[in-house]
Every structure is written in C-alpha cells, then in structure tokens.
Subunit: 137 residues, 2 copies
DNA sequence: CCTAGTTCCTCTAGCGACTAGAGGTTCAAG
DNA sequence: CTTGAACCTCTAGTCGCTAGAGGAACTAGG
C-alpha cells in the first residue's frame, strides 16, 4: 500500500497532479485509510507511470483516457491505439516543422542585427515589417 | 480612423483578441467614437501587426511588452532586443530538440506494432514500460 | 427619417494541464 | 504523548485566448 506521497516519489508526478488525474478520471485510489487518506496498490503505481510516460510524449488527457480504456481490454483489436499514436506522431511532426521555420526566422533576426541602437535594430525592424521575412508563418 | 473590426480584418487578429491585448497593456485605442467605440490610427495598426508577428514567432505577451517598450525608445542600445530574440531562439531550439526525441519514440512505437489485439500491442506495451524507450524524456 | 442588420460595448466564464495557498486533519517517529 | 511532516478539501491563479449574454451604436437601403 502506497500513500499519495509514495506514488509521487516513485513516479516523479507531483501530489496535486495525482489528485488532478483522479478528478479527470484517469486514476482513482481504490482504498482510503481510516483517516480518509488515499491508499494505492501496485496497479495504480503502474498506471500512473503509464500516464506520466504518455504525458511526457505529449498525449492529451483525453487521448490517455482512451489509451487506458484500451489497455483495460486486452482482447480488443489494437487499431485504435495505433491510430492515437499515429495522430500524435503527425501532430508532433507538424509542430517540429513549424518550429523549424520560426527558428530560421529568429536566427536571421538575431544574427543580422548590426545596429547599436533600437532605431536601426534588425530585431525590432523585422518584427515591425513582415516583408523582411522569408517565409509565411 | 479604423474601427476594431477594420483592424481585425487587416491584421487577421480576432476582435476579442485585440481587446485582450488592450487589457494586457500592449495596444490601446487613443480615441473613442461618440458612442464609445474604439477608433484606431495608422500607428495602432502597425503596432498590432508587430504584436501579431511576434506572437506568430512564439514570443510571450511579456516579451512583446518589453519589445514594444524598446521600440518606443529608438535611441536606446538594442542589446536588450537582441537578448530577448536570442532567448526566444534558444527556447525554440530546445523545444525542437525535445520534440524530435518524442518523434523518434512515437515513430518506433507506431511502426513496431505488429500485434492484432491490445494484449500484445506495442503502443500500449511501450507506454506501460518505460524501459522499452531508447531515450530519456 | 426609419428600420434592419451588422458591428460594437462590457462583463463573466471556460479551455487544458496543472500549480499554489488556506485552513484543517491524520499519520509516524521519538 | 507530542511534534512536525504529510495528508485532506476547496478555491483561485497561470497563459493566451475564446465564447456567450445582454445591450448599445453604427451603416446602408427604402
């Protein structure tokens, strides 16, 4: 039996966050102590590790709820889990592509600045004037 | 003189967002019509374009406030603007690096799944078991 | 000049995924 | 048995918007 603090230490998930996940329906303490404190077993620990891992990979709470639901039904086809993972992969790739365009723009901005004062600072000028950009964003 | 709707159309910033920027102290309408509606001039239009552009590049409202403050003082050294841009560039690069690690992980996850049911689905298994990962995240 | 329809006003509340704090209770070690 | 850490619930705040209510003011056509 683990307390909420034990779970927190073992998974690196903060205590209020664990309670938040409970509220969101991802993880419930099956038992309470006599004094109403949450008590968790092995399977809750594992589930929290699963949640933590999925959050680290950028899955939303909703997506995680769906994945948990799937993992509770070991006999179902795993096409749904595949789809969720692929959607997440596509979203991540999209974010990377957009960030890389920003990176170029910012890099140019920060490195081209040769002025001494704000009046001829390239950073300020390029923010004011979109036509100095090389891409749309 | 532009109405808030004119500004919105010209900058592609939604009307409530313009009001939000006003609340945040980024952009104020200097005048109002007799019926209390916001009226903007050229310089507000330009400033909103500046804000929009900076937001597109991922600058926070706070950073933009600082940049606007700088651009209002054309005689000051532009080292501060440089610093803000470089910080933003570093943050973007960091996010890209982390997303790329996630991408690899998700890709492996989604492509390695050869099982038919959730019970042996690689997606579910690798979420449950961190040791299947190749990186820390 | 009147009316209809659009745009505008302020104010409040909601989103996602937490985080922080108040005010009080329970647990575990010494 | 006492002390101090950990726990409880509840509310409110974070960021950058977005949505909606309820009402006032514009603008174009008749």
């Amino acid at each position: 039996m683990y307390s909420i603090g034990d779970l927190s230490r073992r998974t690196q998930v903060k205590v209020p966050t664990i309670r938040y996940y409970e509220q969101m329906g991802l993880l419930a303490a099956l038992e309470r102590s006599e004094g109403n404190q949450r008590r968790y077993g092995r399977s809750e620990l594992e589930r929290l590790a699963f949640i933590r891992h999925a959050r680290d990979l950028g899955f939303s709470i909703d997506a995680i709820r769906a994945l948990i639901d799937l993992s509770d039904h070991k006999d179902r086809p795993c096409a749904d889990a595949d789809r969720i993972a692929k959607e997440q992969l596509a979203a991540v790739r999209d974010r990377i592509a957009r960030l890389q365009r920003l990176e170029q723009e910012l890099d140019r901005m920060a490195s081209c600045c040769s002025g001494d004062t704000v009046g001829d600072c390239y950073v300020i000028r390029s923010l004011a004037d979109h036509t100095l950009c090389q891409h749309e964003h």
